[in-house]
Protein backbone atom coordinates (compact mmCIF):
# COMPACT_ATOMS: atom_id res chain seq x y z
CA UNK A 1 0.00 0.00 0.00
CA UNK A 2 1.21 3.47 -0.82
CA UNK A 3 0.55 6.48 1.38
CA UNK A 4 0.54 9.79 -0.46
CA UNK A 5 0.63 12.95 1.64
CA UNK A 6 -0.91 15.87 -0.10
CA UNK A 7 -0.55 19.53 0.83
CA UNK A 8 -2.63 21.24 -1.77
CA UNK A 9 -0.81 19.49 -4.59
CA UNK A 10 -2.00 16.68 -6.85
CA UNK A 11 -0.98 13.23 -8.06
CA UNK A 12 -2.23 11.17 -10.96
CA UNK A 13 -3.26 7.67 -9.94
CA UNK A 14 -4.81 4.63 -11.55
CA UNK A 15 -8.58 4.85 -11.44
CA UNK A 16 -10.07 3.05 -8.48
CA UNK A 17 -6.79 2.44 -6.67
CA UNK A 18 -7.73 4.51 -3.60
CA UNK A 19 -8.46 2.36 -0.57
CA UNK A 20 -8.63 5.00 2.16
CA UNK A 21 -7.91 8.65 2.81
CA UNK A 22 -8.11 11.22 5.55
CA UNK A 23 -8.36 14.96 5.28
CA UNK A 24 -9.86 16.84 2.40
CA UNK A 25 -9.13 14.98 -0.80
CA UNK A 26 -10.99 15.19 -4.09
CA UNK A 27 -10.89 12.64 -6.90
CA UNK A 28 -11.44 13.63 -10.49
CA UNK A 29 -11.39 11.26 -13.41
CA UNK A 30 -9.11 12.42 -16.18
CA UNK A 31 -10.16 11.30 -19.63
CA UNK A 32 -7.42 9.95 -21.84
CA UNK A 33 -4.81 9.88 -19.11
CA UNK A 34 -4.73 13.65 -18.81
CA UNK A 35 -2.76 14.08 -21.97
CA UNK A 36 -5.23 16.12 -23.96
CA UNK A 37 -7.04 15.16 -27.12
CA UNK A 38 -3.90 14.05 -28.92
CA UNK A 39 -2.81 11.84 -26.06
CA UNK A 40 -6.26 10.38 -25.84
CA UNK A 41 -6.31 9.47 -29.51
CA UNK A 42 -2.80 7.99 -29.38
CA UNK A 43 -3.69 5.88 -26.39
CA UNK A 44 -6.82 4.60 -28.04
CA UNK A 45 -4.88 3.76 -31.20
CA UNK A 46 -1.98 2.08 -29.45
CA UNK A 47 -4.04 0.06 -27.00
CA UNK A 48 -2.24 1.57 -23.99
CA UNK A 49 -5.41 2.93 -22.45
CA UNK A 50 -5.21 3.84 -18.85
CA UNK A 51 -7.90 5.36 -16.77
CA UNK A 52 -6.39 7.91 -14.51
CA UNK A 53 -7.79 10.07 -11.77
CA UNK A 54 -6.41 13.21 -10.28
CA UNK A 55 -6.10 13.15 -6.53
CA UNK A 56 -5.94 16.63 -5.07
CA UNK A 57 -6.32 18.24 -1.68
CA UNK A 58 -4.92 18.19 1.83
CA UNK A 59 -4.40 14.98 3.74
CA UNK A 60 -3.16 11.44 3.24
CA UNK A 61 -4.45 9.15 0.54
CA UNK A 62 -3.77 5.39 0.55
CA UNK A 63 -3.45 3.64 -2.79
CA UNK A 64 -3.24 -0.08 -3.48
CA UNK A 65 -3.79 -2.47 -6.36
CA UNK A 66 -4.67 -6.18 -5.95
CA UNK A 67 -2.27 -6.58 -3.01
CA UNK A 68 0.70 -6.39 -5.37
CA UNK A 69 4.01 -4.86 -4.38
CA UNK A 70 4.56 -1.16 -4.89
CA UNK A 71 7.94 0.22 -5.92
CA UNK A 72 8.79 3.90 -5.84
CA UNK A 73 10.88 5.33 -8.63
CA UNK A 74 12.65 8.68 -8.32
CA UNK A 75 13.00 10.50 -11.60
CA UNK A 76 15.28 13.45 -12.29
CA UNK A 77 14.98 14.77 -15.83
CA UNK A 78 14.68 11.18 -16.76
CA UNK A 79 12.32 8.91 -18.64
CA UNK A 80 10.71 5.80 -17.20
CA UNK A 81 9.27 3.25 -19.60
CA UNK A 82 6.57 1.17 -17.97
CA UNK A 83 3.56 -0.85 -19.03
CA UNK A 84 0.37 1.09 -18.35
CA UNK A 85 -0.99 -1.84 -16.31
CA UNK A 86 2.02 -1.63 -13.99
CA UNK A 87 1.83 2.12 -13.39
CA UNK A 88 0.00 3.01 -10.19
CA UNK A 89 0.61 6.67 -9.56
CA UNK A 90 2.77 9.61 -10.67
CA UNK A 91 3.44 13.11 -9.43
CA UNK A 92 1.33 15.66 -11.25
CA UNK A 93 4.50 17.28 -12.57
CA UNK A 94 5.47 14.23 -14.58
CA UNK A 95 4.42 13.99 -18.20
CA UNK A 96 3.08 10.71 -19.47
CA UNK A 97 3.04 9.57 -23.05
CA UNK A 98 3.31 6.51 -25.25
CA UNK A 99 6.18 5.09 -27.23
CA UNK A 100 6.80 2.25 -29.62
CA UNK A 101 8.57 -0.79 -28.20
CA UNK A 102 8.92 -3.02 -31.20
CA UNK A 103 9.30 -6.74 -30.92
CA UNK A 104 9.75 -6.73 -27.17
CA UNK A 105 6.15 -5.75 -26.67
CA UNK A 106 5.01 -8.42 -29.03
CA UNK A 107 6.88 -11.12 -27.15
CA UNK A 108 5.42 -9.99 -23.84
CA UNK A 109 1.95 -10.19 -25.17
CA UNK A 110 1.01 -6.72 -24.04
CA UNK A 111 1.18 -4.76 -27.21
CA UNK A 112 3.67 -2.96 -29.32
CA UNK A 113 3.52 0.24 -27.31
CA UNK A 114 4.44 1.27 -23.81
CA UNK A 115 3.89 4.20 -21.51
CA UNK A 116 6.59 6.74 -20.80
CA UNK A 117 6.81 8.92 -17.73
CA UNK A 118 9.08 11.96 -18.08
CA UNK A 119 10.29 14.79 -15.91
CA UNK A 120 11.28 15.16 -12.28
CA UNK A 121 9.34 13.61 -9.43
CA UNK A 122 8.22 10.27 -8.14
CA UNK A 123 6.27 7.48 -9.77
CA UNK A 124 4.95 4.26 -8.23
CA UNK A 125 4.91 1.02 -10.17
CA UNK A 126 3.28 -2.24 -9.13
CA UNK A 127 4.78 -5.70 -9.52
CA UNK A 128 3.93 -9.28 -8.60
CA UNK A 129 6.37 -9.66 -5.72
CA UNK A 130 8.99 -7.03 -4.83
CA UNK A 131 10.84 -5.83 -7.89
CA UNK A 132 14.56 -6.36 -8.28
CA UNK A 133 16.37 -3.33 -9.65
CA UNK A 134 19.27 -4.20 -11.91
CA UNK A 135 21.82 -1.76 -13.23
CA UNK A 136 22.79 -1.86 -16.87
CA UNK A 137 26.18 -0.42 -17.71
CA UNK A 138 28.22 -0.54 -20.92
CA UNK A 139 30.39 -3.39 -19.64
CA UNK A 140 27.50 -5.34 -18.17
CA UNK A 141 24.61 -5.73 -20.57
CA UNK A 142 21.57 -7.48 -19.13
CA UNK A 143 19.17 -10.02 -20.58
CA UNK A 144 15.67 -10.20 -19.17
CA UNK A 145 12.83 -12.63 -19.66
CA UNK A 146 9.97 -10.74 -21.36
CA UNK A 147 7.49 -12.09 -18.82
CA UNK A 148 9.39 -10.74 -15.84
CA UNK A 149 10.18 -7.27 -17.23
CA UNK A 150 8.13 -4.43 -15.78
CA UNK A 151 9.94 -1.15 -16.39
CA UNK A 152 13.21 0.50 -17.22
CA UNK A 153 14.69 3.97 -17.01
CA UNK A 154 17.73 5.78 -18.31
CA UNK A 155 19.55 5.77 -21.55
CA UNK A 156 19.17 2.14 -22.47
CA UNK A 157 18.79 0.54 -25.82
CA UNK A 158 16.94 -2.72 -26.05
CA UNK A 159 17.20 -5.43 -28.56
CA UNK A 160 15.38 -8.64 -29.00
CA UNK A 161 17.31 -11.83 -28.65
CA UNK A 162 16.07 -15.16 -29.79
CA UNK A 163 17.53 -18.57 -29.30
CA UNK A 164 15.11 -20.34 -31.55
CA UNK A 165 16.74 -23.15 -33.48
CA UNK A 166 15.52 -26.24 -35.19
CA UNK A 167 15.18 -28.02 -31.85
CA UNK A 168 12.51 -25.54 -30.76
CA UNK A 169 10.39 -26.78 -33.60
CA UNK A 170 11.00 -30.38 -32.63
CA UNK A 171 9.39 -29.76 -29.25
CA UNK A 172 12.67 -29.54 -27.41
CA UNK A 173 12.62 -25.82 -26.83
CA UNK A 174 14.28 -24.42 -23.75
CA UNK A 175 11.41 -22.18 -22.63
CA UNK A 176 13.95 -19.36 -22.54
CA UNK A 177 14.12 -18.77 -26.25
CA UNK A 178 13.29 -15.09 -26.14
CA UNK A 179 15.04 -12.44 -24.13
CA UNK A 180 15.27 -8.70 -24.18
CA UNK A 181 18.83 -7.49 -24.09
CA UNK A 182 19.46 -4.12 -22.47
CA UNK A 183 22.61 -2.20 -23.30
CA UNK A 184 23.73 1.26 -22.30
CA UNK A 185 23.34 3.00 -18.98
CA UNK A 186 20.27 2.74 -16.79
CA UNK A 187 18.12 0.65 -14.51
CA UNK A 188 15.80 -2.24 -15.27
CA UNK A 189 12.98 -3.38 -12.95
CA UNK A 190 12.26 -7.10 -12.89
CA UNK A 191 9.52 -8.90 -10.95
CA UNK A 192 10.02 -12.36 -9.39
CA UNK A 193 7.21 -13.87 -11.40
CA UNK A 194 6.41 -14.35 -15.05
CA UNK A 195 3.38 -13.32 -16.97
CA UNK A 196 2.16 -15.84 -19.48
CA UNK A 197 3.77 -14.89 -22.73
CA UNK A 198 3.93 -16.36 -26.15
CA UNK A 199 7.69 -16.38 -25.72
CA UNK A 200 7.53 -18.52 -22.59
CA UNK A 201 5.83 -21.36 -24.40
CA UNK A 202 8.62 -22.09 -26.83
Amino acid sequence: MLAVSLAGDAVKAKNGSMVAYDGQVAFKKMSGGGEGIRGMVTRRLTGEQMTVMEVKGHGTCFLADRASEINLVQLQHDTLYVESSNLLCTDAGLRTGTSFTGLRGASQGNGLFTTTVEGTGQAAIVSDGPAVVLRVSPQYPLSVDPGAYIAHQGNVSQSFQSGVNFRTFMGEGSGESFQIRFEGDGLVYVQPSERNTIGGEV
Binding site: V132, L134, V144, D145, A148, R167, S174, Q191
Partner: protein, 255 residues
Protein backbone atom coordinates in the same frame (compact mmCIF):
# COMPACT_ATOMS: atom_id res chain seq x y z
CA UNK B 1 8.68 2.47 1.43
CA UNK B 2 12.40 2.82 1.11
CA UNK B 3 14.20 3.38 -2.14
CA UNK B 4 15.05 0.03 -3.66
CA UNK B 5 18.60 -1.21 -3.74
CA UNK B 6 20.12 -1.11 -7.18
CA UNK B 7 22.01 -4.27 -7.99
CA UNK B 8 24.68 -4.95 -10.56
CA UNK B 9 26.89 -7.99 -11.21
CA UNK B 10 29.31 -6.85 -8.51
CA UNK B 11 26.76 -6.51 -5.75
CA UNK B 12 24.53 -9.46 -6.62
CA UNK B 13 25.08 -12.35 -4.21
CA UNK B 14 26.60 -15.55 -5.49
CA UNK B 15 24.36 -18.61 -5.11
CA UNK B 16 22.21 -16.89 -2.55
CA UNK B 17 18.89 -15.11 -2.19
CA UNK B 18 18.54 -11.54 -3.45
CA UNK B 19 15.26 -11.20 -1.59
CA UNK B 20 12.91 -13.89 -0.27
CA UNK B 21 11.43 -14.31 -3.74
CA UNK B 22 14.48 -14.15 -5.96
CA UNK B 23 17.56 -16.34 -6.04
CA UNK B 24 20.84 -15.55 -7.77
CA UNK B 25 22.98 -18.29 -9.29
CA UNK B 26 26.54 -17.66 -10.35
CA UNK B 27 27.79 -19.67 -13.28
CA UNK B 28 31.50 -19.93 -14.00
CA UNK B 29 31.57 -22.16 -16.98
CA UNK B 30 29.48 -24.58 -14.98
CA UNK B 31 26.02 -25.93 -15.56
CA UNK B 32 22.72 -25.88 -13.69
CA UNK B 33 19.49 -27.66 -14.34
CA UNK B 34 16.43 -25.45 -14.09
CA UNK B 35 12.74 -25.74 -14.69
CA UNK B 36 11.54 -24.12 -17.88
CA UNK B 37 10.63 -20.48 -17.65
CA UNK B 38 11.98 -19.73 -14.16
CA UNK B 39 14.90 -17.57 -15.28
CA UNK B 40 13.91 -13.91 -15.03
CA UNK B 41 17.15 -12.11 -15.92
CA UNK B 42 20.88 -12.66 -16.32
CA UNK B 43 24.18 -10.86 -16.76
CA UNK B 44 26.95 -12.34 -18.85
CA UNK B 45 26.81 -14.88 -21.58
CA UNK B 46 24.60 -17.87 -21.06
CA UNK B 47 23.09 -20.53 -23.11
CA UNK B 48 19.85 -22.38 -22.41
CA UNK B 49 19.46 -25.81 -23.89
CA UNK B 50 16.43 -27.99 -23.80
CA UNK B 51 17.18 -31.48 -22.63
CA UNK B 52 17.25 -33.95 -25.42
CA UNK B 53 19.80 -35.57 -27.58
CA UNK B 54 22.92 -33.72 -28.50
CA UNK B 55 25.99 -32.58 -26.72
CA UNK B 56 24.27 -32.59 -23.32
CA UNK B 57 23.54 -36.25 -23.62
CA UNK B 58 26.37 -37.28 -21.34
CA UNK B 59 25.44 -34.83 -18.59
CA UNK B 60 21.83 -35.86 -18.78
CA UNK B 61 22.78 -39.51 -18.55
CA UNK B 62 24.76 -38.99 -15.34
CA UNK B 63 22.50 -36.64 -13.42
CA UNK B 64 19.04 -36.81 -14.90
CA UNK B 65 17.13 -40.01 -14.54
CA UNK B 66 13.61 -39.00 -15.33
CA UNK B 67 13.47 -39.20 -19.07
CA UNK B 68 9.71 -38.95 -18.87
CA UNK B 69 9.63 -35.30 -17.96
CA UNK B 70 12.85 -34.12 -19.51
CA UNK B 71 10.94 -31.64 -21.61
CA UNK B 72 10.19 -29.52 -18.55
CA UNK B 73 13.83 -28.89 -17.76
CA UNK B 74 16.58 -26.87 -19.35
CA UNK B 75 20.31 -26.71 -18.76
CA UNK B 76 21.90 -23.30 -18.31
CA UNK B 77 25.58 -23.03 -19.03
CA UNK B 78 28.05 -20.24 -19.51
CA UNK B 79 29.37 -17.61 -17.17
CA UNK B 80 27.60 -14.80 -15.41
CA UNK B 81 24.88 -14.32 -12.86
CA UNK B 82 21.35 -15.48 -13.30
CA UNK B 83 18.21 -14.63 -11.35
CA UNK B 84 15.58 -17.28 -10.69
CA UNK B 85 12.06 -16.73 -9.43
CA UNK B 86 8.75 -18.55 -9.47
CA UNK B 87 5.39 -16.75 -9.50
CA UNK B 88 6.42 -14.57 -6.54
CA UNK B 89 6.60 -17.58 -4.21
CA UNK B 90 9.23 -17.88 -1.49
CA UNK B 91 12.46 -19.31 -2.84
CA UNK B 92 15.14 -21.04 -0.78
CA UNK B 93 18.31 -22.94 -1.45
CA UNK B 94 19.31 -26.10 0.35
CA UNK B 95 22.55 -28.04 0.48
CA UNK B 96 22.64 -31.78 0.32
CA UNK B 97 25.69 -33.73 1.38
CA UNK B 98 25.73 -37.34 0.32
CA UNK B 99 22.05 -37.34 1.08
CA UNK B 100 18.71 -37.82 -0.50
CA UNK B 101 15.71 -35.60 -0.57
CA UNK B 102 12.25 -36.13 -1.99
CA UNK B 103 10.29 -33.08 -3.01
CA UNK B 104 6.94 -32.29 -4.61
CA UNK B 105 7.57 -31.87 -8.31
CA UNK B 106 6.08 -28.40 -8.60
CA UNK B 107 8.32 -27.03 -5.84
CA UNK B 108 11.71 -27.84 -7.30
CA UNK B 109 13.17 -24.94 -9.27
CA UNK B 110 16.79 -25.70 -10.05
CA UNK B 111 19.68 -27.94 -9.02
CA UNK B 112 23.37 -28.50 -9.60
CA UNK B 113 24.32 -31.34 -11.92
CA UNK B 114 26.31 -32.93 -9.07
CA UNK B 115 22.91 -34.07 -7.82
CA UNK B 116 21.00 -36.76 -9.59
CA UNK B 117 17.31 -36.27 -10.15
CA UNK B 118 15.07 -39.31 -10.10
CA UNK B 119 11.39 -39.96 -10.07
CA UNK B 120 10.11 -40.96 -6.66
CA UNK B 121 8.00 -44.04 -6.14
CA UNK B 122 5.42 -41.68 -4.67
CA UNK B 123 3.56 -40.23 -7.66
CA UNK B 124 4.10 -36.51 -8.14
CA UNK B 125 7.35 -36.41 -6.19
CA UNK B 126 10.97 -36.24 -7.31
CA UNK B 127 14.06 -37.44 -5.47
CA UNK B 128 17.48 -35.79 -5.50
CA UNK B 129 20.49 -37.90 -4.57
CA UNK B 130 24.09 -36.82 -4.06
CA UNK B 131 25.96 -33.70 -3.00
CA UNK B 132 25.13 -30.23 -4.16
CA UNK B 133 22.82 -27.29 -3.98
CA UNK B 134 19.23 -27.03 -5.11
CA UNK B 135 16.61 -24.30 -5.12
CA UNK B 136 13.01 -24.89 -4.12
CA UNK B 137 9.94 -22.69 -4.06
CA UNK B 138 7.24 -22.78 -1.42
CA UNK B 139 4.14 -20.86 -0.51
CA UNK B 140 5.36 -19.11 2.63
CA UNK B 141 8.65 -19.89 4.38
CA UNK B 142 9.75 -23.51 4.79
CA UNK B 143 9.66 -25.10 8.25
CA UNK B 144 11.89 -28.05 9.13
CA UNK B 145 10.47 -30.74 11.40
CA UNK B 146 11.85 -33.89 12.96
CA UNK B 147 9.93 -37.13 12.78
CA UNK B 148 7.92 -38.75 14.25
CA UNK B 149 5.39 -36.29 12.91
CA UNK B 150 2.04 -36.28 11.15
CA UNK B 151 1.58 -33.58 8.54
CA UNK B 152 -1.24 -32.22 6.47
CA UNK B 153 -1.02 -33.41 2.86
CA UNK B 154 -1.30 -29.89 1.48
CA UNK B 155 1.47 -28.50 3.65
CA UNK B 156 4.05 -31.13 2.78
CA UNK B 157 6.89 -29.90 0.58
CA UNK B 158 9.26 -32.83 0.88
CA UNK B 159 11.37 -34.96 3.17
CA UNK B 160 15.04 -35.81 3.52
CA UNK B 161 16.73 -38.99 4.69
CA UNK B 162 13.67 -40.45 6.33
CA UNK B 163 12.01 -43.62 5.22
CA UNK B 164 8.41 -44.69 5.04
CA UNK B 165 5.98 -41.83 4.77
CA UNK B 166 2.53 -43.35 5.04
CA UNK B 167 -1.10 -42.36 5.23
CA UNK B 168 -2.71 -41.93 8.61
CA UNK B 169 -6.44 -41.71 9.23
CA UNK B 170 -8.17 -40.70 12.41
CA UNK B 171 -9.70 -44.04 12.92
CA UNK B 172 -12.13 -43.43 15.67
CA UNK B 173 -13.67 -40.67 13.68
CA UNK B 174 -14.11 -42.58 10.50
CA UNK B 175 -15.33 -46.04 11.44
CA UNK B 176 -18.85 -47.22 11.89
CA UNK B 177 -21.93 -46.27 9.91
CA UNK B 178 -22.05 -42.74 11.28
CA UNK B 179 -18.38 -42.21 10.52
CA UNK B 180 -18.89 -43.38 6.97
CA UNK B 181 -21.76 -40.99 6.43
CA UNK B 182 -19.77 -38.18 7.97
CA UNK B 183 -16.76 -38.82 5.79
CA UNK B 184 -18.78 -39.16 2.60
CA UNK B 185 -21.22 -36.31 3.00
CA UNK B 186 -19.68 -34.01 5.56
CA UNK B 187 -22.97 -34.15 7.53
CA UNK B 188 -22.31 -34.17 11.22
CA UNK B 189 -19.14 -32.16 10.79
CA UNK B 190 -15.88 -33.07 9.17
CA UNK B 191 -12.90 -31.18 10.51
CA UNK B 192 -11.00 -31.54 7.26
CA UNK B 193 -8.10 -32.98 9.20
CA UNK B 194 -9.02 -36.67 9.27
CA UNK B 195 -6.20 -37.62 6.95
CA UNK B 196 -2.51 -36.96 7.43
CA UNK B 197 0.85 -38.19 6.22
CA UNK B 198 2.87 -39.86 8.91
CA UNK B 199 6.66 -39.87 9.03
CA UNK B 200 8.76 -42.04 11.31
CA UNK B 201 12.48 -42.69 11.54
CA UNK B 202 15.41 -40.29 11.47
CA UNK B 203 15.46 -37.41 9.04
CA UNK B 204 13.87 -34.06 8.28
CA UNK B 205 10.44 -33.17 6.99
CA UNK B 206 9.96 -29.93 5.07
CA UNK B 207 6.68 -28.09 5.43
CA UNK B 208 5.40 -24.88 3.94
CA UNK B 209 3.52 -22.50 6.15
CA UNK B 210 0.36 -22.49 4.07
CA UNK B 211 -1.96 -25.11 2.66
CA UNK B 212 -1.99 -23.69 -0.83
CA UNK B 213 -0.50 -26.22 -3.18
CA UNK B 214 1.87 -25.16 -5.89
CA UNK B 215 0.59 -26.18 -9.29
CA UNK B 216 1.80 -29.67 -9.98
CA UNK B 217 4.48 -30.23 -12.56
CA UNK B 218 4.00 -33.36 -14.57
CA UNK B 219 6.60 -35.96 -13.62
CA UNK B 220 5.61 -38.32 -16.36
CA UNK B 221 3.78 -41.57 -15.86
CA UNK B 222 5.50 -44.49 -14.22
CA UNK B 223 6.25 -47.48 -16.41
CA UNK B 224 3.23 -49.66 -16.99
CA UNK B 225 4.30 -52.63 -14.96
CA UNK B 226 2.64 -54.71 -12.30
CA UNK B 227 3.87 -53.71 -8.88
CA UNK B 228 4.71 -50.11 -9.79
CA UNK B 229 2.59 -47.65 -7.81
CA UNK B 230 0.71 -45.37 -10.16
CA UNK B 231 1.73 -47.51 -13.06
CA UNK B 232 -1.82 -48.59 -13.64
CA UNK B 233 -0.73 -52.08 -14.63
CA UNK B 234 -2.89 -55.11 -14.23
CA UNK B 235 -2.57 -57.34 -11.24
CA UNK B 236 -3.73 -54.83 -8.63
CA UNK B 237 -7.14 -56.38 -8.36
CA UNK B 238 -6.36 -58.85 -5.58
CA UNK B 239 -8.59 -61.80 -4.91
CA UNK B 240 -11.86 -62.00 -6.84
CA UNK B 241 -14.84 -60.74 -4.94
CA UNK B 242 -17.00 -63.34 -3.22
CA UNK B 243 -20.71 -63.42 -3.96
CA UNK B 244 -22.62 -61.24 -1.53
CA UNK B 245 -19.68 -58.98 -0.79
CA UNK B 246 -20.28 -55.28 -1.26
CA UNK B 247 -16.60 -54.44 -1.73
CA UNK B 248 -15.44 -50.90 -1.10
CA UNK B 249 -18.77 -49.63 0.13
CA UNK B 250 -18.98 -52.42 2.63
CA UNK B 251 -15.51 -51.69 3.94
CA UNK B 252 -16.28 -47.99 4.10
CA UNK B 253 -19.25 -48.52 6.38
CA UNK B 254 -17.41 -51.01 8.54
CA UNK B 255 -19.83 -53.87 7.92
Amino acid sequence: MSTPVVLDPMTLPSDDNVNPYTFCVELKGSQWFLQKGKMIAYYGSMDFQGIGHGRLDRLVRTSFHSPLHASDWVVAEGSGKMLLADRAFDVNSFDLEEGNLTIRSGNLLAFQPSLALKQSIVPGFLTLIGTGKFVAASNGPVVFMEPPIRVDPQALVGWADCPSPCHHYDHGYLTGVMGGIRALTGIGGASGEEHQFEFVGAGTVLLQSSETLMPEQATGAAPQEPGVPGGGGPGGQGAPRLPGQLGDLQRRFGL
